[in-house]
């Protein structure tokens, strides 16, 4: 109740949460919501501008863009949430260990992560995906691995500010194991940091999914996917701009909404 009341004072955040909620509902229920099948082709009505029949127009194969956008939300959300969860889990584990054990463990972990971070995320992801072959699972794993280092660094510095508190010394004198101290004593104290981290990484992950699909390393045609739709529509955007604008706007709406929420969590 307190949170609901707090939202009234920040309409931006309320709006962002509403946008996210709508996308989640669409991702779950799109089969009941779409007016046309997302892969249904109607070659007689290609490049039709938005109208009462086709709210967002049709693409080069006469498919209804509105239906494809609704259907595409599911894969974007599943892949980005899965990869963020995995990435933050890996990053948190690494960050906790590096900060708690310090010394050689810290050096080894953090320098390896530096190495990984030296390459632009998209370049290395596309190389790996080209080798492994594009699949949803590969996409999730590759994005998770690319996100983890950033997360690990933030977690590490958050833990560093806690590890020298006396309650950790008390736990050590009690004879607690390293794992207990990490997950039961330290982790609960950085939950706030993790929430902010998760939302920020989620926005990054959505962007990465869309970019990789756009480049052809992600979701494969004819499955509806926002990044792929931008890519497919790109050659025709001069004659039919709505083919590109609609999926791009969908991506933007998600990312902006998540960033607004992250900003709020941080303060």
């Amino acid at each position: 109740m307190r949170h609901v009341r707090a939202l009234r004072h920040s309409p931006g955040v309320a709006m962002a949460l509403l946008v996210l909620l709508v996308w989640v509902v669409i991702a779950v229920f799109w089969p009941q919501l779409v007016p046309y099948g997302p892969t249904e082709q109607e070659l007689t009505s290609r490049y039709e501008p938005p109208s009462a029949q086709h709210w967002l127009g049709t693409d080069n194969l006469g498919r209804d863009i509105f239906s494809r956008i609704l259907a595409g939300s599911r894969s974007v959300l599943i892949v980005s949430v899965a990869s963020t969860t995995l990435g933050v889990a890996i990053g948190t584990a690494i960050g906790l260990c590096a900060a708690f054990y310090r010394g050689k463990v810290d050096e080894l972990l953090m320098r390896s992560l530096d190495l990984l971070m030296a390459f632009p995320i998209i370049v290395i992801a596309s190389v790996v995906l080209a080798m492994l072959g594009p699949s949803r699972l590969n996409l999730v794993v590759v994005i998770a691995v690319m996100l983890a280092p950033y997360n690990a660094r933030v977690v590490r510095s958050a833990v560093l500010s806690w590890r020298d508190r006396d309650f950790v010394a008390a736990a050590r004198m009690r004879g607690e194991s390293g794992a207990f101290i990490l997950f039961r004593e330290l982790l609960p104290n950085i939950v706030g940091t993790l929430n902010v981290e998760y939302t920020l990484r989620l926005a990054l992950s959505i962007f990465a999914v869309a970019t990789l699909s756009f480049l052809g390393f992600g979701i494969q045609p004819p499955t509806p996917d926002w990044g792929l739709m931008v890519s497919e529509g790109r050659p025709f955007y001069q004659i039919a701009p709505w083919v590109v604008v609609a999926p791009a706007a969908a991506i933007a709406s998600l990312i902006v909404a998540i960033n607004v929420v992250a900003q709020k969590l941080r303060s």
């Binding site: 508190r165 006396d166 309650f167 010394a169 008390a170 050590r172 004198m173 009690r174 004879g175 607690e176 194991s177 004593e185 609960p188 104290n189 939950v191």
Partner: protein
């Protein structure tokens, strides 16, 4: 009012803070005046508003603080309505402040001397060389050796005490008429503190500045100030001549504060401390703010708020019954019940040739060199030394938090020279520790019940079925209520947090408890209660203590034996009475003299002619 009015006159000043819970009054109608050449002390515990008052006079209140009433007159100017621009001229030239933390007041990327010279360039328009000359003069004045070389060094190249000297020289640079000192020696070692206090005494002979000295330490205030005000929750509860207030208090709070101090040179066997009741409950609206903790309270105190009444020869007291308080005389000495702990034979703890070297930037730093001592059952060993003397490292090695490079730790005949998690459960159970910072000692995300139960479960302390019973009994022993079990640490006060930490140490029936500065971050009124608790528990449980403290009065009070550390070495070790009465080592003598200088009650150096002050109308002598 006398011919030359007071330099500073604060009248009926009120300050509020906006917080999440609404407006909180920090200063409630405070009036005080300081004349030129006079030093006025302001004492109070944490949260009493003493720092807020200093900040308000400087008009440096944080953004959520606002002056809601009253005026602050500097000479003839009211500072309250001034703009920041007008203020900055007065602040630089006329009013200066020295803060508690010297490192925060110095810019780490500028040379120390230039930070002083900057004052001259900005305010007097001097050129580089002239400003440098003046700055070096100031460094010399505050007693820094080789001012010419000190000028070119950076703040991090100075020790804490030297940094505070630099800050003081910056404050004095423009020869201010009003100097506000806010806990200027808190956090410094005792020997450094006594040097800085001597510096203030010397400076008072050279300048005629009015001084407002803010401190929680009654001894320090008594050594510097002619007059003093006692603050309680934003309100002045007693004012008057330092000597009168501190020897014949007319307010129950002042009296309580004096009574709960650890008297210098006294041992636990001869006297019991007299703590103030805890201040965890609020007084009802319109009542006397001190009523819930007051030993003299009457029904009237709950119905009416007392004004500041003239009391005694020079004093004013905010108490309806100040005459009764004055008649009660200085706080009485309660004799200890004389029950000494039963001490057994043999050694509970034996430390042999313990050594620890830290490597920092390619250099070896010997933190502890070949420490050796034994501690018998039921004894209290005090370890004293200044920061960096290795006393904490020694304790951490004994606790198993640090692995020694050499030597052994024997506990009840068992070699425990290894990290805590490699020790047997029995060893871990019998050696416990109470840490310095109450706010760091308990995990903020756990409830008190969780913290204590985990301790008992992990260390197999007795029958699991009886844990709840043990817990309830323990809670009574440390004077906490059962509902505190469901609280989280941040909902408790510092004193309550430390009680929980003590309960955690004692819930496994330990034979040896290491106390690392157990009361140094607590207020005096809380400190007395915690020290009494520690003594009671020690007698009840027949435990031994290893007490680390920089506060020699506390160590003298508690310890049976004393170990003095200096630069990692044990320089003196023996029975407490011997070490304090006839110290053998020169370092121990320095340490002890620094403290005795401090407890001297008379002002160190009052100016030759003391101007008449016009604070409040003085009462004619009742005689």
């Amino acid at each position: 009012m006398t011919e030359a009015g007071p330099v500073l006159q604060v009248e009926d000043l009120s300050v509020d803070y906006r917080t999440g819970a609404g407006l909180v009054a920090a200063i409630r109608g405070v009036s005080l005046a300081i004349a030129s050449g006079e030093a006025v002390g302001l004492v109070g515990e944490s949260g009493s508003g003493k720092t807020t008052l200093g900040m308000a006079i400087m008009r440096y209140l944080p953004a959520n603080g606002q002056i809601t009433g009253g005026c602050i007159r500097y000479q003839d100017t009211d500072l309250v309505p001034l703009t920041q621009r007008e203020l900055s001229r007065i602040r630089g030239n006329h009013i200066a402040m020295v803060y508690q933390d010297p490192s925060g007041a110095l810019n780490p990327s500028l040379r120390a001397g230039e930070q002083i010279a900057e004052v001259y360039r900005a305010h007097l328009g001097l050129n580089r060389d002239e400003a440098r000359g003046r700055a070096e003069g100031m460094l010399e004045l505050v007693g820094l050796p080789e001012p010419h070389r000190a000028y070119d060094r950076y703040p991090h190249q100075f020790s804490g005490g030297q940094k505070q000297r630099i800050v003081i020289s910056m404050a004095l640079a423009m020869d201010p008429n009003l100097l506000i000192l806010d806990e200027p020696t808190t956090g410094l070692d005792v020997t450094v503190e006594s040097d800085i206090m001597q510096l203030f005494a010397d400076l008072r002979a050279k300048t005629s500045a009015a001084i407002l000295f803010i401190s929680h330490d009654i001894g320090l205030v008594a050594s510097v100030c002619e007059r003093v005000g006692v603050l309680y929750r934003g309100e002045l509860v007693e004012t008057g001549d330092t000597e009168g207030v501190f020897t014949h208090p007319t307010n129950p709070y002042t009296r309580g504060l004096l009574a709960c101090r650890v008297p210098p040179g006294v041992s636990k066997d001869s006297r019991r401390l007299e703590p103030l009741p805890s201040g965890d409950t609020d007084a009802p609206v319109g009542a006397c703010l001190f009523e819930p903790r007051c030993a003299f309270r009457k029904p009237r105190c709950r119905e009416q708020h007392p004004a500041l009444y003239p009391a005694g020869s020079s004093q004013h007291s905010r108490c309806f019954f100040h005459e009764e308080v004055a008649r009660a005389g200085p706080p009485t000495v309660t004799a200890s019940d004389g029950r000494a702990a039963v001490t057994g034979d043999g050694a509970l703890l034996e430390v042999r040739g313990l050594r620890k070297v830290f490597r920092a930037q390619g250099r070896d730093l010997v933190a502890v060199a070949d420490a050796a001592f034994t501690l018998g059952p039921g004894r209290i060993l005090g370890i004293v030394g200044e920061s960096g003397s290795g006393k904490t490292t020694l304790a951490r090695m004994i606790a198993g938090l640090e692995v020694p490079d050499d030597g052994e730790v024997i506990l009840s005949g068992v070699d425990v020279t290894k990290p805590a998690n490699k020790r047997s459960v029995a060893s871990r159970r019998s050696l416990q520790m109470v840490f310095q910072h109450p706010d760091g000692t308990l995990n903020p995300s756990h409830r008190i019940r969780q913290i204590l139960r985990r301790q008992m479960r992990k260390l197999d302390a007795g029958d699991v079925a009886r844990h709840d019973e043990t817990l309830a009994e323990l809670l009574r022993a440390v004077q906490l209520a059962p509902e505190h079990l469901d609280a989280r640490p941040r909902e408790l006060s510092g004193g309550q947090q430390q009680r929980v930490a003590i309960a955690r140490a004692f819930c496994t029936g330990p034979q040896l408890v290491i106390l690392d500065e157990p009361t140094s971050s607590l207020d005096v009124s809380v400190q007395a209660a915690i020290l009494n608790l520690l003594i009671d528990l020690q007698r009840r449980e027949q435990a031994s203590y290893l007490l680390i403290s920089h506060d020699l009065a506390v160590v003298r009070y508690l310890a049976d034996e004393i170990l003095v550390m200096h630069d990692g070495e044990i320089v003196e070790y023996g029975p407490a009475a011997d070490v304090f009465e006839s110290p053998q080592d020169p370092y121990t003598r320095t340490l002890l003299s620094a403290v005795t200088a401090r407890v001297g009650q008379a002002p160190l150096a009052a100016p030759a002619t003391q101007p008449e002050t016009a604070d409040e109308p003085r009462m004619p002598d009742p005689a």
